[in-house]
């Protein structure tokens, strides 16, 4: 196992830059998830660590050794691909042992290691099968098995669960987490699914447009998003945003564009500053009276079984609220809502958190 240092990494294709100065230190045994929308550069970064893409600028170190110009085979890393990339003409056992055979590992040692990995992943009865005779979940397991037989310095995962159906994805997610707990291997995991990021990561790296937006623990990103992008990307249903002005004075207020206003505790803002207010759907309180209570119109009620998502509007702005109270299933007309001050997020005109 090893640490991975990424310093000022840049990548461009011709004159088109895709990664700008990415800095990241991943410590030994850590599970780091790179998350972001498609095209944000997360897969490119992973492939650069693997050695499948050249490095335009900066430095990548694995266990202290500079690997910029090292071939993938010399980096001692394992990778799980979205397409699984199993060798179609080899049996499951041969797929899993390929890397060991390339390294001329002794036959009996290979047999032991493969049997161990197969047992761990529940693949024993499938060892002689070809990949085409396996289901999606089984193929995924073989891909994982191929990675773990080698005991590499680090595991790289490139959206490994994207091709699975929802139930299987949930199950494999738990298995990956368990596997990481067992092996304690340094892992870098790329996904566009923020739930995977939240559930798996020790640390999340949120990326957008080739730039790292925020690095932190899942709850860090959830509770204190550094900017509008992270606030909107992490969480489902996503955070609600309202444009408006901050009004200082005896009672500090946030004045929305349609004239509604809510009183709040003072964030460090100048009077009349243009800000975006954010609040998560589950933090919207669907009751109340007094000056901070607003009347919202119910547009749509979405029962999810687990809870209810209410689509509401306030003047011109629409937003969502989440509740477990089933009496809202029949909600209609207008209902009182409250935005508790300690759950509010503020972002300045550049989208940065204040």
């Amino acid at each position: 196992m090893a640490s991975i240092d990424i310093a000022n990494i840049k990548k461009s294709y011709g004159t088109h830059p895709v990664l700008h100065d990415v800095d990241l230190k991943i410590s030994d045994g850590e599970f780091v998830v790179l998350v972001g929308p498609s095209g944000c550069g997360k897969s490119t970064l992973l492939r650069m660590i693997a050695g499948l893409e050249s490095v335009t600028g900066g430095e990548i170190r694995i266990a202290g050794r500079r690997v910029n110009d090292l071939a993938p085979k010399d980096r001692d890393i394992a990778m799980v691909f979205q397409s699984y990339a199993l060798y179609p003409h080899m049996s499951v056992a041969k797929n899993m042992s390929y890397s060991l055979r390339l390294r001329k590992t002794a036959k009996d040692r290979i047999a032991t290691v493969v049997a161990g990995a197969a047992a761990k992943l529940g693949l024993d009865p499938l060892l002689e099968r070809r990949p085409r005779a396996l289901s999606g979940g089984q193929r995924q397991r073989v891909a994982m098995g191929r990675a773990i037989v080698r005991q590499p310095k680090a595991f790289l995962f490139d959206e490994p669960l994207s091709n699975l159906d929802a139930r299987l994805r949930e199950q494999m997610r738990a298995e990956i987490k368990k596997l990481h707990k067992d092996l304690g291997a340094t892992s870098i995991y790329v996904t566009h699914d923020q739930i995977e990021a939240m559930t798996l990561a020790d640390r999340i790296v949120a990326m957008n447009g080739g730039v790292v937006q925020q690095v932190g623990s899942p709850l860090d990103l959830y509770d204190r998003p550094a900017n509008l992008f992270v606030a909107g990307f992490i969480g489902s249903p996503g955070m609600n945003f309202f444009e408006g002005n901050y009004q200082a004075g005896e009672v500090q207020r946030f004045e929305m564009e349609d004239g509604n206003s809510i009183p709040l505790d003072a964030p460090p803002l100048s009077n009349n500053a243009r800000v975006t207010l954010g609040i998560r759907p589950e933090h919207v309180v669907l009751a109340g009276h007094g000056p901070e209570t607003l009347l919202a119109t119910v547009d749509l009620v979405e029962p999810t079984g687990f809870g209810i998502i209410l689509h509401l509007s306030l003047g011109g702005a629409s937003f969502k609220a989440f509740t477990n109270d089933r009496s809202f299933l029949t909600a209609s007309g207008t209902i009182p809502v409250r935005f508790p001050a300690h759950y509010l997020h503020f972002f300045d005109a550049e989208g940065r958190r204040v």
């Binding site: 050695g51 499948l52 394992a78 691909f81 990339a85 390929y98 390339l102 085409r132 191929r146 080698r150």
Partner: protein, 277 residues
């Protein structure tokens, strides 16, 4: 309703049968003339099968003509051409499919360009080039010429097979510890066997039946390939159809054997990528 369906099936089968009969009729005629004794060839008129069949033409062709030499020459030329072209085309097709390099566009254009000239135009210059090299009237010369003409098309053929193999596979192999070449040899090549079979078959038959260059570059029976050899059955005063057809039947055998051998891969190759697998 059921009668209608049965009728459609029968009509379908009949149409296939008609097509097969149409396509194979020349082959049948080849065989028929080959077993028809000379005295019956012109006397019996048009019959589907002669009243008396004999193998005398085969006997003559194998024992008293230069056909075995032609046959051997053809086998050497076609076999070597097929193997050399397939090796070259695998490597260049892989490069075109996987690598980005300077001048790739022009290289491809140039290769396409070579396919545009009628071969007849090139016979004289090629003769002029090969003559001082001592490659006229030699099997090696033929192999060189056939290889040169077949490599471009075979390269495109192989490239399309490589394009059908996901890049992830060799990337996975490279991460597993293989060099690019080892990944090519151990992972990609085995998966391209259908493509290799198709290319082998295509080049082999092309070289097997090539007449123009072997006619122009080869003089004398010792180095003649079988298509040229067939012409020797045409003499000044007559055409010995029986012997010619017998030689033709014999010449079909290796081509048939070859395709029988690769047919398993060929079918895979022609349908590869049709189904998500």
């Amino acid at each position: 309703m059921r009668a209608n369906k049965a009728f459609l099936i029968i009509a379908h089968r009949l149409a296939i049968l008609a097509y097969i009969a149409f396509a194979l009729f020349p082959l049948f005629w080849l065989l028929k003339v080959a077993v028809t004794p000379n005295d019956l060839l012109y006397s019996e008129g048009i019959r589907l099968w002669p009243s008396r069949a004999s193998l005398e033409h085969f006997d003559f062709v194998l024992r008293h003509s230069a056909f075995p030499v032609f046959f051997r020459n053809s086998l050497i030329v076609s076999g070597s051409t097929a193997v050399i072209v397939t090796i070259l085309a695998s490597l260049s097709g892989y490069a075109l499919s996987r690598f980005r390099f300077r001048g790739k566009y022009w290289l491809v254009t140039l290769m396409l360009l070579t396919q545009m000239f009628p071969l007849v135009m090139l016979v004289a210059p090629i003769f002029k080039i090969l003559s001082p090299l001592g490659l006229t009237n030699s099997l090696t010369g033929l192999v060189v010429v056939y290889t040169a003409f077949n490599v471009p098309f075979a390269t495109f053929l192989m490239q399309s097979f490589f394009d059908g193999i996901p890049k992830d596979l060799e990337e996975a192999a490279m991460i597993d510890g293989a060099t690019q070449f080892v990944a090519f040899r151990q992972i990609i090549l085995p998966l391209t066997l259908p493509g290799i079979a198709a290319t082998l078959g295509f080049v082999f038959t092309a070289a097997w039946s090539e007449l123009l260059f072997s006619l122009m570059l080869i003089s004398g029976n010792a180095q003649a390939t079988f298509p040229v050899g067939l012409l020797s059955f045409v003499s000044k005063f007559s055409v010995d159809f029986g012997q010619m057809m017998a030689a033709g039947v014999l010449a079909l055998i290796p081509a048939c054997l070859f395709f029988l051998l690769i047919q398993r891969y060929l079918v895979q190759g022609l349908t590869a990528g049709a189904v998500k697998g």
